[in-house]
Symmetry: C2
C-alpha cells in the first residue's frame, strides 16, 4: 500500500499483484450504507472475492447454516477480448499501475498501460457507489489505443449471478429481461427470507458499437464489438442500480413497480455525465466531512489519513437509512462474520456516531430496541428472563445467529463447538452501556423515554435471572461464560462480565426509583410491562450479592476465578508475528485456555469503560500485568490499550499501539483484510484520537475532556455534538481551546477533576 | 487439437490457450460410468468449468429449477506457490506443452516446462478415473527442478466445495474430517433428494514435506511446504474416492460405514503404485477394446481414431453398473442438458450397446421399464392414458423434467416457453422402437417377456389416447407437436411422429394377437394389467384411421401439414458457418418457424429407421428435397444423413457428412463442446461406420448386412453380437467375409434382397 504525504485523501496500490487481491478489494471497498461492494477488478482473477451486499437482506442457505448477508449478482464485471486475446493483468506488460480510493468522494480509480504483442492500451477505470442516490452505482472506463494500428475489442458485460457466498447460493435464478433494448434487469429472490431484488444495468458508449444480448443461467450479458482506431480512445459507462422489496424508500413494493422505478431512475439521470453524478455524490460525502473534521498536526502524515480512512469506511458501511439493520463486523466489505452485528457496534463504533452523527447513532440504538423480541426469545430459550441480547445479530427479530459449529478440529476431525452464542453474555451489558452512552451524549429524551428505559430494565431483568446463587458464600456468581478474552472459555466470574452486569442492575434499580418519584407517567407505563415493584425487589435482593472480583494483594483484578493461577507463557515470540497466528502453530485452544494468555483487552477494557471504579494506581498495575499477556489477536484490542495507556501517561507506548491499530487494515500485511475491513477497529481509530489523545469521555453521565497529545503530535483539532450542540476543540501541547455557538446554552465538563462551563469559547492551559 | 497418425489411441492438445479450456475439459473428459469428470487443469483458470458428476444423483436447486446432476466438490484441484509466485500457465514461459488423453486406458497426461524469473520446472501430471474400482480417482505429478538452485514450493490441495452448477448449489456444507491425519473426508448431502456423498482424498509424497491442514467453509485442504533442490524432482500423488448413499455396491448405506469403507479402500491399495493402479484400470478398458474392435483402413487416419474416441466416451459415460440411471445428452462431461436422458439414447446410442455390449444395453432399456411409473404420471397429467415417456428424463420415477421456461427473449424480455416437454412426443415411439431393436438384436427373451411387452403395449395405449379425431375426414391426426426438427413448434401431423406412432400401435396389436394365440400365460398376466380385449378393440378401431402424411406428386413426404407451403430460404450462407448459429443473428425462432428450414433429420430419419416403408426412389427424392433445407444445427443430424446417403449410394456426400460428424467434438471449432461432449454424436459415429459403411441393420426383426465402403476406405473390420453370438465382419470393396464360432447355430441375414445363412464363415462377393 502506498500513502502519499501530498494527498491525505487517498489510499493507493502502486502495483498489481494477484496474490493480494483481497487487500485492495476490502480496504478500498465502496459503499453508502444501503449497499456496499468490494473493489474487485472489472476483469476476473483467480482468488478474487467479488462481493456486493445490501444491508439487512439476510438469508440462510439451509437450516444448518446461519443467516448471512447474501452476495448479490455481480454488476461491476467486464470481460474484454482485445484482438481476441483475453485482457488480464496476469499477461503482457503492465506499467504505470495505480489503483486508488479517493476517501473524499468514494471514487475508485484504476489506471495502467497494458501491452501484449502489438497491443498497447491505456485503461482508466473509475467507479463509485452514489452517496446521494442510494441505489445507484456508476462505472466509467476510458480506453485509449496507444499504437498506430487499430485494435478490435470485444466486451462482455452485464449482470452475473453465477457467484455465491463461498459456495452457498442465496438466490433463486429469477426473471430476467431487457427493457427498451438496453436496461438489463435481473430479479433474483433470496431463497428463504424471500426478499425480492431488482438489479438493473445499462451501458453507454461514445462511439458506435455493435451489440448482442446473451442470456444464460443466472446471467444476462451484452456483447459489444468495436474497433478502436490508432491513437483513439473510447469512453464506456456502466450504470446500475439495486432495489429490494424491503427498501424503506419505495412507494410500492410490487415487483413491477420496482422494476419500473429502477428503469426510470436510470432514465432520469440519462443526461447527467459520470462527472456530474460523481459531483452530486461528492457533495453528499462533503456533508459528512464537514461535520466535525479532525485535523492532526503530526510528524506522521498517515495519522491524518487514518482518521479519514476510518470515517470513510464507517459511513460506507453504516446503514444510516434504516433502523432495522446495523453494522456488520466487516461492514459491507466482505463475507467475514456473515454481516452479523456484535458488541463491536456499542463498544467500538457507536461512540463515534454518538458524538458526531447522533442521527445515525439513533438508528443503531433503535436497532437494539427492535431487537428486544429476539433478546426475549434468546433469554427464554436459555431458561432466563428479560432481554438477553444475541452475541451475533442479523435481522433484529431473529435473536441469536452465532453459528453453533465451527471448522472441524483438524486433529479429531470433529466440528468444534462455537460457545460465544451461548455463553459470551457480556453483550447484554454492552448493549445497555451503549444505550446509556447514547442518551448521555445526545440527550435524546424521546428515545430515552420511549425505548432506552425499557432496554435498560429488561437487560437488568435478564442479569438477575442469569445469576448463579452460591450457598457457601451467600453470593451470586456468573459462572460458565466467555469474557472479552475469547481464549478463555467456560470461565467463572469473568471480571468484565460481572462488573458490567452489576452496573446494569444497579443502574436499573436507580432508574426505577427515579422514575417512580419523578416521572410517574412513564413509571406506570413500564410498570404494566415489568411489574416494577416485584422486579425492583428481585433486583435489590440480589444486586449487592453479585460477586465482583476483588484485587489481589498486588492490586490485580483477576480476569476470572482461575486465570491468575494458570501458567504464564512468554509471548514475545508471538506478539511480533505480524498477524500470523503462530501461537496456534505451537498450542491448541485447549492449551491456550490453560495459560495466562489473553486475546484482547478484558480487565483493561473494564477499567477503560468504567474508569470511576478503579484508581489510577490500580489501572497501572493491571495494565502492567495484563498487557504483556495479551496477544492482541483481536482487532478490538489495540485501540483500548492505546487509550488506556494514554490515560495512564504512557504516551510512547500508546502511540505505538495507535500505529499498530491503524495498520490493522492500512498496514503492509496483505492477507488480514481478505474477509473484509475491521469495522470495530475503524471506530477504534476515532476513539484513540478523540477519546485517547483528544481526551473526550462520557463518564457517569458527565462530559470530561482531558487531552494527552503524543509527542509526535503538535496539535489536534476535533469536534463533537453534545446534547445537540456542536463543540469544537483545538489542542496543542500547552493549551486547549473549546468553542461553541453563543446560543445562551452552557455546557459543563470536567478536566483534571475540575468542572468548567463553556458558553462560547474557553481556553484551558495544560 | 492435434492428432497423430502414429498414435491412433491419443487425442492431444499441443499448446495451452486459456480461451479454450472447455474444449479439452470436455473432449478429454474422464469417466467410468459411475462417475465422470471434466479434464480441468489442476491449477485454476478463469473460464474453467470444473465438473464432476456421479451418475443418477439428481437434485433440484429449488422448485423453479428442474432436477440436474449436481457438480460435486472438486477433488482434482492443486494450487502451487513456487518461490511465492502463483503457478499458472498464463504467466511465464511455457514450452513443450502437451495435454493428451490415452483412449486405450483413459489416462490423461499433461506435461510442459514452465519458466518464470529464475524458476524452471518440468511438470508432468497424470490422472485417471479407475475403470475397475468404480469409486477411485488417482492423480500423479512428477515435478522436476531444471535449474541449479533450490525452489520453495507450497502446495494446497484437498477437497473444494465452493463450486456449483453455474451458481446453483446442490449440496449442504456437510461434516468434514481428517482420519488418521491424512484422509480428508467431506460429507455433503444434496439439498432436496438427500443423497449423502462421501468424498475422500489423501496425498502421498516421495520426499519429506511439512504439512498443515486447513478447513474452511465447504472446503478442506492440506498445505504442504517443501524445498525442491537443484536438479531434483518430487513425485506427488493424490488419491480420492467418491461414494454415495444410493450406490448399489455397498453392504451398508450408513454414513459411518461408508466413511470407513472409503478409508479402507484407500488403505487397501496403499501399497499399489500409480502405475499398478493404472494397469488394473487399463485391463478393465482392455476388455472393452477387445470386444468387437473396429479396424478401418482409410486414407484418413482420423477415421480410426474417431471410432476409438466415440467408444471411449460411450463407456466413460454409460452407467453400466446401475439400471436406475441412463446416459445424459452430454454424458458426465458437462452441465449441458443437466445430465438428462433424451431419445438420444434409444435412437443414437442404444444401437451401439445392443450390438456390442448387450449387458449395458439391458441396463439402458431396463431404465425405461423403471420409467413406466413416471411415464404414466406424465400421460395422466396431460389427460392421456398409458405410458407417455418424458422428453427429458432424470430419475426414472420422476417423469418429465424438461425445463418449462428457457432463456429470456432478448427482445421482449419475457422468458421463452420450452415446448419440448409438452409436445415433443415422438420420444414415446422412440422408446418403443429402441426396446424392439434391443429384443431383436439381443434375443433377450426374459426382458422381452417381463418388461418389453408391457412397454410396447403401454406406449401404444398412450398413442391411441393421444390421437385427435377429425370429423371431416373421419381420421385421427396428431396435432400440435414438435417433431425431430425442433425449429417447427406446434405443427400438425409431423410425419416422423405420425408414422412412428402408427408403427407403435400396429406392433402392439400384432403382439397382443400373437401372445393370445401363442403364449396364453403371458397374455393373461398382461391382460390383468391392461384389459387386453378392450384395449385391442380401441387400438384396432383407430389404427387404420391414423393419418399418415402421403407423398406429394413430386414424391415428397410433407414434414408436417404446412411445411411444404412455407417460404424457402437459401441456407448456403449458414450451413458453412462452422457452428456459429448465425441463422439466428438474422432471424428469430418465430421467423424460422415460418420457413422451410429444418434443424435436423426429420422425414429422413423416419426413412432411415423405417426403411421398409419407402422405396429407394422416394428416399432419394426426399433426401434431395430436405437435405438442402437442413441446417444440421443439431449434432443428431449428420450421422443420419451420412448413413442414409450411403444407403442411397451417395458415398462421396456421405463421407463428407461423416467427416463433419466426427468433427462435432474432435474438430477445430473450440467452443462447441464447452457444455460437454455430444453423446448422441458418439453413437452416431459408430452407426455411420457399422450401419452406414458396414451395412449392418436390424430391419423388421431381420438382420441385414449390406456394406458400402467410401472410396477413401480400403477395408473395414467390425464385429457384433447377435442373439448371444459374436460375428466378425471383414470388408473390402469387393468382398465381405463373415465369421462366427462354429457352434452349431446358424444366423440368417439379408444382403441385397437375398437371404444368407452363416454357420461359421461366409464370403460374399460384392
Amino acid at each position: 500500500m502506498y500513502y502519499n504525504e501530498k494527498n491525505l485523501w487517498q489510499i493507493e496500490q502502486k502495483g498489481f499483484d494477484e496474490r493480494f487481491l483481497g487487500k485492495s478489494e476490502a480496504i478500498m471497498a465502496l459503499g453508502n450504507g444501503y449497499f456496499g461492494s468490494r473493489s474487485s477488478e472489472e476483469e476476473a482473477y483467480i482468488g478474487e472475492k467479488r462481493d456486493t451486499f445490501v444491508a439487512g437482506t439476510f438469508n440462510s442457505f439451509d437450516e444448518n447454516e446461519v443467516t448471512e448477508l447474501p452476495n448479490l449478482l455481480d454488476m461491476w464485471g467486464m470481460e474484454f477480448l482485445i484482438n481476441d486475446q483475453r485482457f488480464s493483468l496476469t499477461q503482457g506488460l503492465v506499467s504505470n499501475y495505480s489503483k486508488r480510493l479517493n476517501l473524499k468522494n468514494g471514487e475508485l480509480c484504476r489506471e495502467f498501460i497494458w501491452e501484449l504483442k502489438d497491443i498497447k492500451l491505456k485503461f482508466k477505470f473509475q467507479k463509485f457507489i452514489s452517496k446521494n442516490r442510494q441505489h445507484l452505482l456508476v462505472s466509467h472506463l476510458e480506453l485509449a489505443n496507444l499504437t498506430d494500428r487499430a485494435v478490435s475489442i470485444k466486451m462482455r458485460s452485464g449482470i452475473n449471478g453465477q457467484i455465491s457466498n463461498e459456495g452457498s447460493q442465496h438466490f433463486t435464478d429469477g426473471e430476467k429481461g431487457l427493457t427498451e433494448g438496453k436496461f438489463i434487469q435481473m430479479m433474483p429472490m433470496t431463497t428463504g427470507s424471500k426478499i425480492q431484488f431488482v438489479q438493473t444495468v445499462e451501458h453507454k458508449f461514445d462511439i458506435e458499437v455493435s451489440e448482442r444480448p446473451e442470456t444464460g443461467r443466472r446471467a444476462f450479458f451484452m456483447n459489444y464489438n468495436f474497433e478502436l482506431a490508432a491513437d483513439c480512445s473510447v469512453t464506456i459507462e456502466k450504470r446500475g442500480s439495486i432495489y429490494t422489496s424491503i427498501d424503506n424508500d419505495l412507494a410500492s413494493h410490487d415487483l413491477n413497480e420496482i422494476r419500473k422505478q429502477a428503469v426510470h431512475e436510470l432514465q432520469n439521470i440519462e443526461k447527467l455525465t459520470y462527472q456530474e453524478l460523481l459531483t452530486e455524490s461528492q457533495l453528499a460525502w462533503q456533508k459528512i466531512w464537514e461535520k466535525h473534521p479532525i485535523k492532526i498536526d503530526s510528524e506522521n502524515f498517515r495519522d491524518q489519513l487514518a482518521i479519514r480512512f476510518a470515517k470513510y469506511h464507517l459511513h460506507a458501511m453504516a446503514p444510516a437509512h434504516d433502523e432495522r439493520m446495523n453494522i456488520g463486523a466487516k461492514g459491507l466489505s466482505g463475507e467475514g462474520y456473515k454481516g452479523h452485528t456484535f458488541w463491536d457496534t456499542e463498544v467500538f463504533m457507536l461512540p463515534y456516531f454518538n458524538f458526531t452523527h447522533p442521527d445515525i447513532a439513533k438508528k443503531l440504538v433503535t436497532y437494539r430496541y427492535l431487537g428486544l423480541d429476539g433478546a426475549h426469545k434468546k433469554a427464554k430459550s436459555n431458561g432466563y428472563e428479560g432481554a438477553q441480547y444475541p452475541w451475533e445479530a442479523a435481522n433484529p427479530f431473529d435473536g441469536e445467529v452465532t453459528p453453533v459449529w465451527g471448522a472441524a478440529d483438524i486433529v479429531t476431525g470433529q466440528s468444534t463447538k462455537i460457545w460465544s452464542g451461548f455463553i459470551e453474555q457480556h453483550i447484554t451489558s454492552d448493549v445497555a452501556f451503549g444505550i446509556k452512552q447514547y442518551i448521555d451524549v445526545t440527550g435524546d429524551e424521546a428515545f430515552e423515554v420511549e425505548k432506552a428505559y425499557e432496554i435498560l430494565i429488561d437487560t437488568a431483568k435478564f442479569w438477575v435471572s442469569r445469576l448463579d446463587y452460591i450457598q457457601e458464600t451467600d453470593s451470586y456468581e456468573i459462572r460458565d461464560v466467555i469474557g472479552p478474552d475469547e481464549y478463555k472459555e467456560h470461565g467463572n466470574n469473568n471480571a468484565y462480565t460481572n462488573y458490567t452486569a452489576h452496573w446494569n442492575v444497579v443502574f436499573a434499580i436507580d432508574l426505577i426509583q427515579k422514575l417512580k418519584s419523578q416521572k410517574p407517567d412513564i413509571y406506570d407505563k413500564l410498570d404494566q410491562k415489568f411489574n416494577l415493584n416485584l422486579l425492583t425487589e428481585i433486583l435489590s435482593a440480589k444486586v449487592d450479592k453479585i460477586f465482583l472480583p476483588k484485587a489481589t494483594a498486588d492490586g490485580i483484578i483477576p480476569q476470572d476465578d482461575t486465570y491468575l493461577s494458570k501458567k504464564i507463557l512468554d509471548l514475545q515470540k508471538y506478539r511480533n508475528s505480524d498477524g500470523v497466528d503462530s501461537l496456534f502453530h505451537d498450542y491448541n485452544l485447549e492449551q491456550v485456555n490453560q495459560m495466562q494468555i489473553t486475546k484482547q483487552a478484558d480487565v483493561l477494557l473494564l477499567m477503560l469503560l468504567f474508569e470511576g471504579l478503579f484508581d489510577k494506581e490500580q489501572k497501572l498495575k493491571n495494565f502492567n500485568y495484563y498487557e504483556p499477556k495479551t496477544t492482541h489477536d483481536s482487532s478490538l484490542s489495540l485501540s483500548t490499550h492505546a487509550i488506556l495507556s494514554a490515560d495512564l501517561g504512557k504516551l510512547e507506548q500508546s502511540y505505538d499501539f495507535f500505529n499498530k491499530a491503524i495498520n490493522i487494515d492500512m498496514g503492509e500485511y496483505m492477507k488480514s483484510s481478505d474477509a473484509g475491513i475491521h469495522a470495530a477497529s475503524l471506530g477504534g481509530i476515532w476513539q484513540m484520537i478523540v477519546f485517547g489523545y483528544g481526551g473526550l469521555r462520557m463518564v457517569e453521565s458527565q462530559l470530561r475532556i482531558e487531552p494527552h497529545l503524543p509527542k509526535e503530535w503538535k496539535a489536534l483539532e476535533y469536534g463533537f455534538d453534545y446534547h445537540g450542540k456542536a463543540i469544537h476543540v483545538e489542542l496543542t501541547k500547552d493549551k486547549m481551546t473549546l468553542s461553541k455557538e453563543n446560543d445562551g446554552h452552557e455546557i459543563s465538563f470536567m478536566n483534571k477533576g475540575q468542572k468548567y462551563v463553556l458558553k462560547n469559547q474557553l481556553t484551558i492551559k495544560m
